[in-house]
């Protein structure tokens, strides 16, 4: 009995050590994604017609990918139990997918935004649509297999950014006091994007888990966007034609 409990104590100490190592690693990861966060916090304040198409978007994507590779390698090399590593592993994947989705959203938006007809590809097998597909994410991050649950959570987080960007753009444009601007059309574009995503999410049989909880907030975001579009349409402020393909 004494020997068994001695072994238990050793294992407890080992698990504590691994927990501490994982906490350090998580802190390092949180620090590593601060530049990504700052980049998109700035982006959100820029009006759609002033978004500059970034030539170095591939550089940004490669930064996200290498950051992902670095941290997922560190986690997998840590000889801890799966249950200990699982949360951090999923967090690294989720954050990496999230930044890829946002960067792609702004890139496609900036390329497509004109003062005339705005044509945006929603998803595409070959080129990047405004929403990156799971296969495209898988190929960018060199996954063997995509975890759809994490991909969908990241997608729901992107929707929150889309709503926030719409609100910011409408507020900033209103402050500039120009009644005719293509920038108001961002509300219609984003409302259509969220509508398509909402329809897609309705195809899923969600069980009562974290994905379901996050999905439940989607309807409020959709409602918010629709209200903005309705108000802007009443005032004839949406002047640019939109085509979401």
């Amino acid at each position: 009995m004494d020997q068994f409990f001695k072994e238990i104590k050793n294992q407890i100490e080992t698990d504590f050590e691994k927990k501490s190592a994982l906490q350090d690693l998580e802190h390092q990861f949180d620090v590593s994604i601060i530049p990504f966060k700052s980049k998109f916090n700035d982006k959100i304040t820029i009006l759609p017609n002033k978004l500059k198409s970034e030539e170095n978007v591939s550089v940004f994507i490669s930064e996200v990918v290498s950051n992902y590779e670095k941290f997922s390698k560190s986690v997998s090399e840590l000889n801890a139990k799966f249950g200990q590593k699982e949360r951090l592993q999923n967090k690294i994947v989720e954050e990496s997918i999230y930044y890829l989705l946002i960067s792609n959203y702004f890139q496609v938006l900036s390329n497509s935004y004109t003062n005339e007809v705005i044509r945006i590809q929603f998803v595409s097998e070959k080129e990047n649509g405004i929403i990156l597909t799971p296969e495209q994410v898988k190929s960018l991050l060199n996954f063997d297999k995509i975890d759809y649950q994490i991909y969908l959570i990241s997608l729901l987080k992107l929707i929150e950014v889309i709503v926030e960007y719409t609100l910011n753009s409408v507020i900033n444009q209103s402050i500039e006091n120009e009644s005719i601007s293509s920038n108001y059309s961002i509300s219609l574009i984003n409302s259509q994007i969220v509508s398509k995503l909402q329809n897609g999410f309705q195809l899923l049989d969600l069980k009562n888990d974290i994905l379901r909880k996050k999905y439940d907030s989607l309807k409020y975001n959709y409602q918010r966007l629709n209200k903005i579009v309705y108000d802007l349409t009443l005032r004839n402020l949406i002047t640019t034609k939109i085509e979401l393909l």
Partner: protein, 256 residues
Amino acid sequence: MSSDDLIFIPARDELRIKQDDREEIIRLVRDITSYSKKCIFSCHRSIGLKKLKSELLEYFKILSDRLKKIRIMYITNLHLRGNISGAIEELIEFFTFAYFKNTGKLLPYNDFIIMIKCLILEKFEFIDYLIEDKELEKVDDEIEIDFIDTSDYLMGLFDCTGEIMRLSISQSTNTSGNFKAKETWENYKFLQKLYEQFIILVQLYPGISIYKGIYDNSINSKGSISFKKKLEVFESSVKKIEATLIDMLVSDKEII
């Protein structure tokens, strides 16, 4: 191709597979819990060794089948460790109780793992070691058991103490005409020693927690609350045997 074809239909298919796996594992662990309980009931019964053996062997067939399936499914469902632990604790409760009833000792963890491997391989001869204290034959086949570790064993041991208490009380009040004071006292000593080890663990790690096979030291966590609750039940089991012993040795005796 539409977004449904590129995103949501494949996502739905994948999520369905995961959900089906989870439900299947829940069904399997339910059987393990149920048949482990049946094994415990058999051990409590006052039946001969032959009858006990035949009852247990029947249950082993089902336990073996369910463990085999879980072992295969667990490889792709590591995140379901928490769903499996409860049933494994019940299984440990049975093994440790059966061994204790036979030998009065704590079943070594390594021997338990050997028996689980035998169970999976349908080599049920280990039953002689479990209930008759014969030699345990080593298994040749190197199979890995990833879904059980010492943390489950520790939690299963807690539950075993409740069975030892039940056994002690029923032994002490059986119809044979004599109180089994010595056996009850031995059980009491065993539980006291085990309780002391658990108390040392709590003193060393006040927030000791076991959850999904992981040891942690965080007060108020789910695993810590469950550990403390089991410890309270353990303490009350020790007290119950203590009271039984006092009754047997002092209160119920007309002449001491």
